[in-house]
Symmetry: C2
Subunit: 581 residues, 2 copies
């Protein structure tokens, strides 16, 4: 037993107790006749005092040698502090040290182990074990633990069974790229790491397990954009004998439970909007609804005047930036420059100031009179004091651009508050999306998603119009979960594979086991998967998932701490029946 | 909502309630005027009744078409059963069906979905989703869920933080063979799948996380013996600022908690025996102590008589099989044949019957008198009525043979009761073991295990005699967990790598990150990992882990259900910069 107490628990009630503590030297202040040391562990900080008059001479001298991050064990008596620190749980006391053991020395760390560190991203990743000592990272990991424990408890209490599905499975060309694992015992063959346990959870439903969940690592070998990881964690769930409504209810319940238990936030029933509505109203299938600024379509009120730009545009659409009528020319120009950036790609922006007196002042006053602009204000729900921002052009592109602008304005206005939570469901996703590159339809969710029964008749004739029983849970502008009611009928599943361009042979080779399973009594079923990394970071009020992962990889998929991936022995390659190209 | 109730919950209190149920047709009995159907789901069975007089004609006709494993939904009224079944939770009632919907038809399953099935292992694995419908498999999966939830709750309550460590790490030639994953983005380089998160959990301790756990998949590419899986699950734990005693206490507490919560069994403080004692007393470092039959060494009392076999033997050792003095010549011969099997390899067996009257009758009466044999009885703790079984030869081999015989006799005597639990700790393992093949020492546990401080002086001179701070938890003859206090000092870790035959460069390339970490303030730490698959199967009172894994692989590492591993596309190989040999 290296300690009688942690560094976070001693207070005035312990005064005069003899204690043993162990931890790291956070800092040391040497006043010559008196040395104070802040001793740190996971649980907190405790102040140690070495006093020339009261401390044994050897111990006092030893204390002088302590450097930052030394690991020490001390024995001593809890005494009352002269100058108390009310901001610290242990701020009432300090320890008058009688014995000091240096358990391990430490080199000077390459960055400061403080809440605000001087270490850059690369250095922090290389010495991640030091970075984890910092409160922000440590607290994120503790927070993640709390979230995953609550998820497990909630789902287990609801009758879900945590079942481990295999990691060494089969590669499927559909979807993202697989990581593969050469088999030594089966020459020329490979396992794949799962992109998700999708087919296994469906088989568990065929197997009668009824309610399944798993917090599980998944893998995608894709070029990494910012804040994507090659391995990521899903809360993976599936239920049998359910309709969409049952799933939405269950997982809305889970999310509400997490918000309440973890954040102390009560949220009302989640709004539900269709994919079409989301795209038209927010230009985006994962709208941030912590704030308004819904899209107002202006085609009927802005076209067929003398403004050629709008007349030739497929879509004219605007938002009302609240309280921004007072923006200066410079501020507005900055927004125009922003939308013209190649990342956004708008060719220009029209604006209308809704003045306090009910009049309007716009950048297109030459073409539109006050009555016209009043209609724009109505369409965008602009009030006096708001600034209407209008983009135009190709409908899809313009919506995407206005969506980006909406988010940017909200950020500038401080409307994206990390302690506010606005969850919603987006439902009725299209079943398929057209892929220009391959010249065929792709499954928008995945090939196991069921079409809405009333749209099945359109599958062969107008596939693009078929809606799916698919839904996403969106929180603060992020998709945190998504799922669908699955196909459980072999015939329909087979038609889906046809539609997605699989030959009969390919479909059988890849997914024969699933289609066979459907012939032995598959129940109706559906499910959902949350992205845990993202969910935790949003609940934690932060933007980047990386700080909620103990040992993340960088954008080249490397772990710079352990220096992986790395070369392997020729002998290993031989055994695996492969060679380098 | 496909159902108002499950198939396991209706009883007399629901009589006259209108209900909706959904599930699988377990069986159907058609008496012409009356049809009974047992409807099954995860939660139980409910009897449905279709009655020519009371049931709508169309529904009645439809009921005749129901085959085994059809998925149906019914509406009906709960009525009292005429002949109640007190062995079934729903045995008081049946459902008089008014509406029947066939949700999915089913082909005749390839084996019966009953507790005792007619399906062989291969067929059950191929159609694992049908096998899971059977109560024994389903209940095993539910049991596993219960165990893992209890583990998480217990450890979380004790302050352990569940932290996910990476799956894509670096290959290390030490230990078992790694599964590797070619990197697309880093040409010619490979990730490895973890054999355990060992180094990461140690880095978490260096990072100050203090108490870590994870229920985590691990991977070993080894030739599969019976009941080994290439992917397996560990309960992985690590603690900082602990000595061996703290670890033993903590995880003895966990195991005691599981036995109590899951099995309702209270066990006393676990016995602790040393590795040396275990080997001498049971011939085995994972002794089954549900029964006695401790080894009695007979060298001093059996050698130096006229029996040449014993005189030339390094070790003469026996056990007392309780109550077996009455064994017939045939039964004894069967045991002799058993020890002579090549798998055991003894050249013969001597026996002594301890008769009720206090006399002895042995197969070596020619060489030993009653006084001699009395001493044998004392050494083996044999009582009147017992049968002493004696083997001799090379000490290590003979102990191994007698250990096998001890287990076999216990099995024959029914002493290995699956509802009895006898946990213990085996401690003071050797640090190193000599490997004949490579002609050098290997780490018995792993290279991070610390030697006992008092034995460090022997490291360079008598490495084989150095004991480690390493311990195994043993339950009913199985190692269910093992761990050690780790090295936390760079210098000592470096000496260990030297001893294990690593060059400085190899050690730095493989484990440089860990040794560097030790220079920045590593705390004393240690831990333990349980094999969850094994733990669950023993708690479940069964022998094979495979039935506690949802989708196990066969002895060739294949998943015969999905048919993995499999060939992959040439394009995938190209992208990964590898080709087949």
């Amino acid at each position: 037993m290296y300690r009688s107490h942690t560094c976070g628990e001693l207070n005035a009630s312990h005064i005069n107790t003899e204690v043993t503590l162990a931890g790291w030297v956070q800092k040391s202040r040497d006043k010559g006749f008196m040395i104070w040391v802040d001793l740190r562990d996971r649980y907190g900080l405790t102040q140690l005092i070495f006093d020339e008059k009261r401390t044994d001479k050897t111990v006092f001298e030893q204390a002088k040698s302590l450097g930052r991050e030394f690991v020490i064990q001390i024995k001593g008596k809890v005494i009352e502090r002269e100058s108390k620190n009310p901001n610290m749980p242990t701020g009432e006391i300090e320890i008058l040290v009688s014995e000091l053991t240096i358990l391990n020395e430490a080199m000077v760390p390459p960055f400061t182990i403080e809440d605000e560190t001087d270490g850059g991203e690369d250095l922090r990743m290389k010495y991640r074990y030091l970075d984890i000592r910092r409160n922000p990272v440590k607290n994120n990991l503790l927070f993640r633990h709390k979230v995953s424990m609550e998820v497990r408890k909630y789902l287990s209490d609801k009758g879900f069974c945590d079942i481990e599905t295999p990691y060494l499975i089969k590669s499927t060309p559909e979807g993202a790229r697989d990581f593969v694992v050469p088999s030594r015992m089966n020459e020329g063959q490979f396992y794949a790491l799962p992109q998700s346990p999708q087919t296994f959870k469906q088989l568990l439903m065929v197997g009668g397990m009824d309610k399944y969940f798993q917090i599980v690592k998944c893998f995608r070998d894709e070029d990494l954009r910012a804040d994507r990881q090659p391995e990521f964690t899903q809360i993976d769930c599936e239920m049998a004998f359910v309709e969409q409504e049952d799933i939405l209810d269950m997982f809305e319940g889970l999310t509400r439970h997490l918000l309440k238990e973890i954040k102390g936030v009560e949220v009302a029933k989640f709004p539900r909007i269709t994919y079409d509505y989301a795209m038209k109203t927010y230009g985006n299938d994962k709208p941030d609804i912590r704030f308004e600024m819904k899209f107002g379509e202006l085609n009927t009120v802005a076209k067929h005047k003398d403004f050629g730009v709008f007349n030739t545009a497929e879509l004219v659409v605007g938002i009302a930036a609240p309280g921004c009528a007072s923006y200066t020319r410079k501020e507005i120009d900055a927004l125009i420059d922003w939308v013209k950036r190649p990342q956004v790609g708008a060719s220009g922006m029209v604006y209308v100031k809704c003045e306090a007196d009910g009049t309007f002042k716009s950048s297109v006053d030459k073409f539109y009179d006050q009555d016209d602009l009043k209609k724009w204000a109505e369409a965008t729900n602009a009030k006096a004091g708001d600034l209407i921002l209008v983009l135009s052009g190709n409908a899809d592109k313009t919506r995407t651009q206005l969506s980006a602008l909406r988010m940017e304005v909200a950020t500038r206005l401080g409307l994206r508050k990390s302690n506010e939570f606005a969850p919603l469901w987006v439902i009725d996703f299209p079943l398929l999306e057209w892929d220009e590159e391959s010249g065929r339809y792709h499954a928008m969710h995945h090939p196991f998603t069921s079409p809405k029964p009333e749209d099945i008749k359109l599958i062969e004739t107008e596939p693009g119009k078929v809606r799916a029983n698919a839904y996403d849970m969106v929180l603060n502008g992020n998709e945190i979960g998504g799922g669908s009611i699955r196909i459980h009928d072999r015939e329909l599943q087979s038609r889906m594979f046809d539609l997605l361009g699989f030959s009969k042979e390919e479909a059988q080779a890849q997914f024969g086991f699933l289609m066979n399973a459907f012939e032995f009594g598959a129940p109706p079923h559906g499910g959902l998967a949350f992205g845990l990394d993202r969910l935790v970071s949003i609940l934690g009020g932060q933007e980047t998932i990386r700080d909620f992962i103990a040992f993340p990889k960088n954008n080249s998929g490397r772990d710079v701490m352990i220096d992986a991936p790395a070369k392997i022995d020729e002998k290993q390659l031989d055994e695996l029946h492969i060679k380098l190209k």
